[in-house]
Amino acid sequence: MTDSLQWFNLLEQNRRKVIPMSGANQIPQVSGADPSIGHLEEFNSDPLLFLQRVHKECGEIGEFDLAGLGTILLVGSEAHEAVFRANEEQLSAAQAYQMMIPVFGEGIQYGAPPHIERQQLKIQIQGLKHDRMLNYAGIVEHETTLLIKQLGKKGTIDVNQIFSDLTLKTSTHCLLGAELRSELNDEFSTLYKDLENGIAPSSLSDPFEKNERLTKCIRARKRLEELIGDHVDRRRTKGKIYEDMLQVYMDSKYEDGTPLNKAEITGMVIWFMFAGHHTSANTTAWTLLEVVKNPAYLSKLLEEIDQVFLKFPTVTVESLRELLLLDGFIRESLRLHPPLNAITRRVMSDFQYKEFTIPTGKNIMICPYVSHKLEKSFPKPLSFNPERPSPKDNFSEIAFGGGRHKCIGNGFAILQVKTILATLLKQYTFNLSELPEKYGEAMPALILRPKDPCELTYVKKDGQGR
């Protein structure tokens, strides 16, 4: 297990390695490094602006320095493929994401030995298989219908707030079941927020930095373990079997026959929530914002939604598949506003990419925000085009990462966002409440979302009143 002392030692080793290599195959170094902390301050203050600068200055491959942690930004589908196809022994996600250990808990995912992490991942995917998805679409539609009852005929919503609340409910309902969802209260929301705030850009360079943010995160995790542990006990007493992820965790066993203990079940819940909650909330918010900002496609989109609801009275996996333009809106929103932008691996043994050798101990970073704007992969990359054809390869669009560590919830995320937006757009017309240029980007806790406040007005369509 890597602890903070080992981390410090690793930083010290890397500090010595930041000295540029000589020779023809030297990795381009980005300018402006501070002699003591390198580019850390610039990265922490605006990671996306900084990574764009690295790409502009260095091209496909460029190196920067996060207080001694030499980091190489790789840009483009060819580079992504090389990274995503590399095995864990060469490029390690576990070593790069040590900052997740305080959030998920010791013994979970990257805080567990590789053979345990592998089995935990397998358990997670059991709850995300196609047969399970069939149930989830109905749950998400039900939760959105409850929201619609609260919204009434007209008003103003803050999309960050409203979709954060809604996806907390949908995720909790699908993950932990109807009972815990009905008990969902402000304490849960606060605990999740404290967990999410445990991660900041600086966590990449110093995952165990002692600060109030991390203290609150660790406290929130302990409290969640109590709440979820109580729920597990009650469920076991009742003896009833449920169709949710919690049941999967409760019934699963490691290969040696040992069941998951309550701390591990809690860690699995947090892992799932952490991966899926805010990323889905933000994608829903961005997509609705883009729907409103691109009226040229609106009538076609609404017609598509009406036609699908005529054919299928309730949301199902089949009905969602027919929402092709909505799918295009979501994918284009994910392209221009990818939630996660510092996909990182630790180089465990020298990694060769084209004529460059990336030495052991460095970090490799991939940034979808930068790569999704390459003209080569996406002609007229800055324009929003929901009818843009998908790239032919698997490595240009990387909002969910790629390879063995690709987000396993990608199907669930798309299902969730589509269901929420189809249900809302069927009933409401939305408009910007500010001038378009007022809607910007923000990236707290390393997740890109619309800048606060992000308000839209809404009016219920004729014939849809209560």
């Binding site: 298989k129 196609h130 690709k406």
Partner: protein, 84 residues
Amino acid sequence: MLKKTVKVDNRLRYRIELDHDLCQGHSVCIAEAPALFSLNESNASYDQIQLITSEIDEEQSEAAFRAQKYCPNGVIRVLPIEDS
């Protein structure tokens, strides 16, 4: 050199390819085409999809194309078989 697609009894033949590096065993393909795909419960991080048959005719191709279209990881390719 121009390549010709292979026909047997005047029907097109197709080859299915799976990119195992990227497969996470979501099993959408099994739901769409149970005669063509099955689950190999491996010792790796993910159960892997395996092909029951890699060469199919036109009749089976519709289900294979659905599997290709709906695979969340885009790991399936269905290609017409061509004369070499």
